[in-house]
Amino acid sequence: MAEVLVYVDHVDGAVRKPTLELLTLARRVGEPVAVALGNGAGDTAAALAEHGAVKVLTSDAAEYADYLVVPKVDALQAAVEQVSPAAVLVPSSAEGKEIAARLALRLGSGIITDAVDLEAGDEGPVATQSVFAAAFTTKSRVSKGTPVITVKPNSAAVEAAPAAGAVEALSVSFSAAATGTKVTARTPRESTGRPELTEAAIVVSGGRGVNGAENFAIIEALADSLGAAVGASRAAVDAGWYPHTNQVGQTGKSVSPQLYIASGISGAIQHRAGMQTSKTIVAINKDAEAPIFELVDYGVVGDLFDVVPQLTEEVKTRKG
């Protein structure tokens, strides 16, 4: 069976969930070979093997952390040359898309970004995309070169599928461009202890209706009762009530959880673009005419300051 390269997104050896999802999708089109780069690359092998990687190609060098994007492109290109895969899959993070794009160009290949599903086709993998703020679903494929496809988080269920996961060192010689953009400082994001926004099964978001940074405690309390991540609309972020890293929407994160709860959010097209593919959508808004109600499975027309705390209490009681 043909091999499929999967680019591993990990933090110091801890594999992030979207990569495990990619391994599930990769198995539909071939045998997954994972590529893990940078500090802790070798430590990813156990998790990758458990989820279907027949091989794990690893490379660690200071360049991956010290320079932007290009060293990783060099490494992925070396992996492609070694393996001659049927496709290359990369998680759809901002960086993942940039890596994938440059790789595609070097390979003379087409690129598809933000796939939400993938299946084998007669002429190579067929990717499903959700476009125009999720108003349309398209099916596309790469028609030239080795398909390079980036896949959004929450596009597939993580499945265990134990495989050999044999670790092999990947030999990479860095290009002249690799050291072009220097990372002169890096401040890791502080963990809130809550799930990653893009990976969470439940997201609880607040908007302008939350009316103040301090009131976001109400949203956080509901999120914590459900084990959820916290999101925010751009209006709330622009007002300085919540960090931009939590923004959901076109210019924020795009999320696709099992459950999305929007409180005090009107449902502007740019917000919808980031949450419309959520499986179940719930909204709390005091305006019965708010466009968000067009999307919901369940909506409460009411004041979030009454509804949200009552809901939180009820969740806590039911969970015991």
Partner: protein, 262 residues
């Protein structure tokens, strides 16, 4: 010293309009009003600020690849304060994908002459967020992308990139390709004076032959990707909506329990 900035701006269908596909599965541009992609306004704004903060002579050129109407996007950018504009227009460009678009932009940027290219973080129609990286790869210059802060001094560009896991400070020598996010600073509105001045600013039109690009390198037929189908997402079935009469939170909890979320 002088600094030549080229800002890439895309003309896109209005996101609040009824966007859909034409029969050939490209974007239908006839039925929906187009405009300058709002995220490219941030790129124009940063170019203007770099110019205002610079002791050098700065020349800002805005560049678009798109149909006839794409001139509107250039006019908007000129009225914000850019100096001149380049419109790459050719019937053979219809349906060009990201790989092809980056080729056309790269050739045009090279022909125009540049020290710095500034792009938006993503278009508001394709929203791929890949063109700046592709441009940097093609031009063989550093990519300094997704910046929420950017500055240029003495032949060096610096910026802040807010990523998922960390915030990074980046630095590269010019020439370089930069992209900026909507966190980089509110874009200015064109003033009346700006709008009047824009009418007199030069807009050059180039076609594929001006850029030495073969027609078989671009267009729908020669794209590296094929869209096989596009289907409107079925409207969500109308959900249950209740009015809070004091029990709204409890009713919602009941729904969530029924769906096994609690």
């Amino acid at each position: 010293m002088s600094l030549r900035i080229v800002v890439t701006v895309k003309y896109v269908p209005d996101a609040t309009g009824d966007r859909h596909f034409a029969d050939d599965l490209t974007v239908d541009r006839d039925d929906v009003d187009g405009l300058l992609s709002e995220l490219d306004e941030y790129a124009v704004e940063q170019a203007l600020q770099i110019s205002e903060n610079s002791d050098d002579d700065v020349e800002i050129t805005v560049l678009t690849v798109g149909p006839e109407d794409a001139k509107d996007a250039l006019r908007k950018a000129l009225s914000m304060g850019a100096d001149k504009a380049i419109h790459v227009e050719d019937d053979d460009l219809h349906g060009t994908d990201a790989i092809g678009t980056s080729l056309v932009l790269a050739k045009a940027v090279e022909k125009a002459g540049y020290d710095l290219v500034i792009s938006g973080m993503a278009s508001t129609d394709g929203t791929m967020g890949v063109v700046p990286a592709l441009l940097a790869e093609r031009l063989g210059v550093p990519q300094v992308t997704l910046l929420s802060e950017v500055s240029v001094e003495g032949g060096t560009v610096k910026g802040r990139r807010d990523g998922d896991a960390a915030t990074e400070q980046l630095e590269a020598s010019l020439p370089a390709v930069v992209s900026v996010t909507d966190q980089s600073g509110e874009a200015r509105y064109p003033s009346f004076k700006g709008i009047m001045a824009a009418k007199k600013k030069p807009v050059q039109s180039w076609d594929l032959s001006d850029l030495d690009i073969d027609e078989d390198e671009v267009g729908l037929e020669n794209a590296y990707t094929v869209v096989e189908s596009a289907a409107e997402r079925p409207a969500r079935t109308a959900g249950t909506i209740v009015k809070d009469e004091g029990e709204g939170g409890k009713q919602l909890a009941e729904f969530l329990a029924g769906q096994k979320f609690i």
